[in-house]
Subunit: 189 residues, 2 copies
């Protein structure tokens, strides 16, 4: 009966949406394990404790985002309009409208002031997000302005994700994405 019927990767992928939706404090190990169809005790076989679990979740999300973001940006054969298109698609995958928005933002606000355990992963995520946008912007803007604009865009998007959830209306995130597009492509087309 061994023969990993639920691998660690599967577990991570199954619980990410739950944690994004319910928050990390409000998701119990029992609940998470039940959702994976395995015993709670088996979770402790995969993860030494809940904190480790969450860390691995955030690292997984981070690396997925990071990998795909820079794959889009560093594709030299792709025109910038195409990059923007792909970026929009990546973002809609990461920031699920009906499923809790941005797990990095949620976890940040939920935990940042209690313990700084997850700070590193969260900061990495945002720093890369900003850096990626900055690279894109440098097509049309000087470096320093690109950085400021990149920060501003991320800020706009994260605020949009919040309002989207408060009013259950995707327009706020959509508006931010449209503004991003307009800024990136200002001289193009």
């Amino acid at each position: 009966m061994p023969k990993a019927k639920t691998s660690k990767e599967e577990v991570l992928n199954k619980i990410i949406p739950i944690l994004r939706n319910r928050g990390v404090q409000n998701s119990s190990m029992s609940e998470l394990s039940k959702a994976c169809g395995i015993q709670k005790s088996h979770f402790y076989y995969y993860f030494s404790n809940k904190e480790e679990l969450i860390k691995e979740v955030l690292a997984t999300v981070y690396s997925y985002f990071n990998h795909n973001l820079f794959k889009i940006i560093n594709n030299n054969s792709s025109p910038i309009t195409d990059k923007v298109l792909k970026l929009k698609s990546l973002m809609s995958k990461i920031f699920k409208v009906s499923d809790g928005g941005c797990i990095m933002a949620n976890t940040a606000l939920e935990t940042m002031h209690l313990n700084p355990t997850y700070k590193k992963e969260i900061q990495l995520f945002f720093t890369d997000f900003i850096s990626g946008l900055q690279l894109l912007l440098e097509t049309n803007y000087p470096s320093e302005e690109s950085f400021d604009l990149a920060e501003q865009i991320v800020q706009d998007i994260e605020g949009g994700i919040l309002l989207m959830q408060v009013y259950n209306d995707p327009k706020y995130l959509n508006n931010a994405v449209l503004r991003m597009e307009k800024i990136i492509l200002k001289n193009q087309q």
Copy 2:
């Protein structure tokens, strides 16, 4: 006969910063009562349960913000530059940098997807925030554009509050406030 040594208002004011900082899920009734120097059982005299407590907290924050916001905006003897100044000061009181940012945003992300209990208070807060800004903007912009800009400003500010906490750097909120100021006063002075 007891001579309320800690009134309900005092309790609310004492626990608001704690709830903003630690989040509502992560603040226990014991912890909150201890911080007020009263018995936990006395909390249940003031509030029928934790949910009621949180509701009253959010209602308190909302009405404080609402009252002060519209007092600033509807003061006809005050020039718009003065209004902006007062608005900035109100915001820095509400969105404590080192103390958890915006309790409305935090609570929204923490609870919105679990139960919609606090939705009303949270939506009221943001709706009034946007409406207030819209009123200010109508000095210099047509009504519809004012509304869109007001939403955009709130979005920018809330995103700034998030990044401020992630990086422990007030510049993100400050930048948003500066952008707000610039937009509101575009033709002025």
